[in-house]
Amino acid sequence: MFCLQAGAAMAQAAAGHEFDTAVAALPTASYLEKEELAGRIARSAHPQALTLLRGWLDGKLHADAAGHAYLEGEGGYTDALSGAAATPASPDELEKIGTNNRLRKALKGLLAQFGLASAEPGMRIEAVREMRRELDESAVAALQARLPQETDAAVKHEIELALALAGLASEEPAQRLAAIASLDGDRSTEVYNRLSRMASGDEADADAAVRNAAGAAVRSIDSWRSFYQGVETLFFGLSLGSVLVLAAIGLAITFGVMGVINMAHGELIMLGAYTAYVMQLLMPQNTGLALLLSIPAAFLVSGAFGVAIERVIVRHLYGRPLETLLATFGLSLVLQQLVRSIFSANNRPVAIPEFMSGVWQINDVFSITYNRLYILIFALMVFALLLGVLKRTSLGLKVRAVSQNRGMAKAMGVRTDWVDAATFGLGAGIAGIAGVALSQLTNVGPNLGQAYIIDSFMVVVFGGVGNLWGTLIGGMALGVVNKLLEPYAGAVLAKILVLVALILFIQRKPRGLFPQKGRAAEGH
């Protein structure tokens, strides 16, 4: 009995010693040595090991000049060895014990093994999944030790899957077959990769029956995967299309309905994006709210610019498209220089709020990023709203009346110049809203607008001038075609092919997909 106790005490002392020496060696170790030391720290099973490794992963582990390690906490420093509160002699001279990617990965794996003992089933599942990514002997041993104690069914299932995956490496063909059978229905990437390597190629399994079983499993996963990859391409296309629609929809009003070639349209988008940036500057604590508020703010800012442009420049040039084009092009340069003077020529960072970032992992092959999803929904909402304004409000009625027959509308008592300004302002305001959405996807800089002006005109012309539905369908179609071509042709060539196809299409149907019909349209 005494002997046992002494042995336990000695083992504990040894663990403590192992832990102490490993931590002491950390500050001067190379990254490769650190990885080995991290393993020793984890194996020492010292009570401080978990805290230390987690703090290290978070970049909170520091050492002073003498090589003594401190952990940085919320309230101050603690001694990394004992966990007691401690004050380093000179906090300014502490050097962080750095990590690199490989080391962080190793640390995560080690922490996962600790996580296996967590009380939370969710943590345990995470831990098993983390370990499944790199199944070495120690991980398999840990999982096997855990399996009989595990009470939660979901965790148990995950462990069994991981062990089956490890079982694929068994010496016995029968056991490998059993492992394949028990993996049936699991479509995760690890399983897929493992099975496809067993089915064919250099590392194919020696046993024909195992090869066939693996091959059959791979084929069934393959058809499932290709279906979801198709869905993914479609989503990417719609998402690109929604950006095109957003950028073009303001132009569909100014160019499509009013017939004004507004080369400064891109700069109105840019102003909207800068509005989002300024709103974030005003509310640095709450990026999400700032982004939502910048939607109306951008509408007002760009809309006000739009009304001013119409009043000062465009109204003097109605019916003279060439001069309008030149004047608004000049204006676009002025606006670019304006933001360059105010915000400098450098791109401005617009942070992505929490709810916009991240990914909705539907399964192992198909995932949707939230920002793209929201922007797609947002584009459709803006479209519906605009359609409602044009079809259901008195402003919309007047806009349509003026665009169809200016003289007659005037005779009916419509203040055409007021309607012109309001229409232009509406189109400009929508461009500003598009800018807010684009600030989440691309660089906010003086050249933002230039990147979208050509695409915008392309969408409006393709969809049919003067038709909002044409803009929607046209933009989505261009997006999807672009994304369908991209895997085969590459991003550069896909864009060229789309342009060439568009030119040919316009040759055959000069009025676009959905041409305006009626006397007003024919008369132009």
Partner: protein, 423 residues
């Protein structure tokens, strides 16, 4: 007596005036101050002005003051050639510091060779060039791309490679060299994915999804990025969005440095890598002093310092040393004198000008930190000698540049001929 003094004073005054007028050394600065490249190149113009200022405080070169002649080629490649001609023929400058993009360098090359000018080019580039009139103080591919790939292969254990770049000459040539290099190391074709995108590309979702798929084949995957300019921002954002972390698929970039990261939301970039010959965060006395001088000169205490700026500093110091050694600013004599000269790097070690007009340089790999600076995770032991002609491309394997023994920038060791091409 009085008259004599006045006369003497007048004579002295006239003489000193003459010294002022005739005896300055003119330094041309050929960097874009407007247009798309202005963001990067304006900083280099300021760096040269700072160096001239510092040198004049020390009494100039050979007792003569330095005088800067600044022109603006406006990110317009043909205009680079015109402005170079203006500097060399009209202003008669003794040396030019300039250019950033490879296409601008190619555009001024014939002008410098025709007029026997002297150009110091401070940016990392694709190699395959060595002109009598140009000194390349930035990295050649074997001083940046190849060591970075070696690091990923040996230290990280990368087996699958994505070579992603912007569609122009530097990424295309660099990727050609890297592809040949990887294949020589036994990497199979199916483990290399090459992708080009246009300048300013912003819709990265499908490319990043492809990279994710490519990287989920069970082998360690890395992205070698020669993506240039502001297309990098949406690229890294999309990586962050699709939850590709630097631990799973690290991205090592050759064109992303402190200046590019300044004023960026660096959160999605943390842990990704960059390969350079200089990092601002390297803790040496010389580096700290230079950064302090720079921030004082530009009057902004948080301005960053980067690799092409260090290359400009080294080029300038080497030129000053060479002029003092040759005791003339004559281009041919300075070119002869500069070979073999050494100046200390800001980060330790020395930069030595080699007979092929390239430098010896240390290579560092840094991981991006949240504050936009880099943590050094790897560095070469000692300096790497710049190689003008890559050893991994079939066309350039046998070509050698040596302006001392061979007097040729493209000597073919097989045919024993100097091809005499104008580069």
């Amino acid at each position: 007596m009085k008259l004599k003094t006045i006369l003497a004073a007048v004579a002295l005054g006239a003489a000193s005036f003459a010294v002022q007028a005739a005896d300055t050394i003119k330094v041309g600065v050929l960097h874009s101050l407007s247009g798309t490249m202005a963001i990067s190149e304006t900083t280099l113009k300021d760096t040269v002005l700072m160096l001239i200022d510092e040198q004049n405080k020390k009494g100039g070169v050979m007792g003569k003051k330095l005088e800067a002649v600044v022109v603006d080629p406006a990110s317009n490649w043909p205009l680079f050639a015109e402005k170079a001609e203006q500097l060399l023929v009209k202003d008669k400058v003794d040396v030019v510091f300039g250019c950033w993009t490879s296409v601008s360098r190619k555009s001024v090359l014939p002008v410098f060779e025709k007029n026997n000018g002297l150009l110091f080019y401070p940016v990392q580039y694709e190699g395959e060039e060595s002109s009598k009139n140009v000194f390349y103080t930035g990295a050649s591919p074997n001083q940046q791309a190849i060591p970075a790939v070696d690091y990923l292969m040996k230290d990280i254990g990368v087996k699958r490679w994505v070579l992603a770049g912007t569609d122009y000459v530097y990424p295309r040539t660099t990727n050609k060299i890297l592809e040949a290099y990887l294949k020589s190391k036994g990497v199979k074709q199916e483990d290399i994915m090459i992708n080009y995108t246009p300048f300013g590309h912003s819709d990265w979702q499908s490319i990043v999804a492809d990279i994710k798929k490519f990287g989920s084949a069970g082998k360690k995957t890395a992205v070698v990025s020669t993506i240039n300019g502001d297309a990098n921002v949406p690229f890294y954002k999309e990586l962050g969005n699709q939850k590709i972390s630097a631990e799973d698929i690290p991205v090592v970039a050759f064109s992303v440095g402190e200046e590019e990261l300044a004023g960026l939301d660096t959160k999605p970039l943390v842990g990704h890598l960059a390969a350079w010959n200089y990092f601002q965060s390297i803790n040496t006395k010389a580096n700290k002093a230079e950064i302090a001088t720079w921030q004082k000169f530009i009057k902004k205490p948080d301005r960053t310092f980067n690799d092409p700026m260090e290359a400009t500093v080294i080029g300038f110091k080497l030129w000053v040393k060479a002029v003092e050694k040759a005791q003339t600013t004559d281009v041919s004599k300075v070119s002869d004198a500069i070979i073999g000269l050494e100046v200390p790097n800001l980060t330790g070690g020395t930069a030595k000008m080699l007979p092929n007009h390239h430098l010896t340089k240390p290579v560092y790999i840094g991981e991006i930190r949240e504050d936009g600076q880099f943590d050094i995770v790897w560095q070469t032991k000692g300096e790497v000698a710049g190689d003008a002609w890559s050893d991994y491309l079939p066309g350039s394997k046998d070509v050698e540049a040596d302006w001392v023994k061979l007097k040729c920038g493209n000597y073919n060791t097989k045919t024993k001929k100097c091809s005499g091409q104008n580069y």
